[in-house]
Amino acid sequence: NAGVTQTPKFRILKIGQSMTLQCAQDMNHNYMYWYRQDPGMGLKLIYYSVGAGITDKGEVPNGYNVSRSTTEDFPLRLELAAPSQTSVYFCASSQVGGGGYEQYFGPGTRLTVT
């Protein structure tokens, strides 16, 4: 199993550009999550999904959109990139949401907006 995969690994965007961060998992997990990690800060939840067709906002959803058309994929869309979105983005999945269940993380995408 590849686990959780993310593409791209690195990306530089100009202000106002848009892009999609890809995330896929091959563990048949229902729950998937997107986090961002700013320098010196903890991970903050952007969006999460409890199954195909179901998504919900996390702590910092502004400026982002997600979709979950399949169990495997959970792409994160940035419509109008801003310097404040410069961060490292992590995707994660878990078999069941909530406590007691391990989250499996992807390797991260480092995004710079200039």
Binding site: Y31, Y33, Y35, M41, G42, E59, G100, Q103, Y104, F105
Partner: protein, 109 residues
């Protein structure tokens, strides 16, 4: 609001010395608590969870509800323990993890 605090950004210890990474949380209910670790050039991964009451790689963590703490401890640090450690909380009945800001542990030879 729920919050996880890791007061130390960096903790340096010598090999063989005891290690304690501090984690305090703010939550009125019964939380689920975890420690995640990220070794150099590797992904963030689960180290241990409080409900399992397990010891992983010599690390243990005890939930102290009175002090709202979940400190990570190891009696004898090893160089391969050098990594970034994150404490995380999940409020009961939710799917949302709340992470602390992390502590970088450096074990010196």
């Amino acid at each position: 609001a729920q919050r996880v605090t890791q007061p130390e950004k960096l903790l340096s210890v010598f090999k063989g010395a005891p290690v304690e990474l501090k984690c305090n949380y703010s939550y009125s209910g019964s939380p689920e608590l975890f420690w995640y670790v990220q070794y150099s050039r590797q992904r963030l991964q689960l180290l241990l969870r409080h409900i399992s009451r397990e010891s992983i790689k010599g690390f243990t963590a005890d939930l102290n509800k009175g002090e709202t703490s979940f400190h990570l401890k190891k009696p004898f640090a090893q160089e391969e323990d050098s990594a970034m450690y994150y404490c995380a909380l999940v409020a009961s009945g939710t799917y949302k993890y709340i992470f602390g800001t992390g502590t970088r542990l450096k074990v010196l030879a």
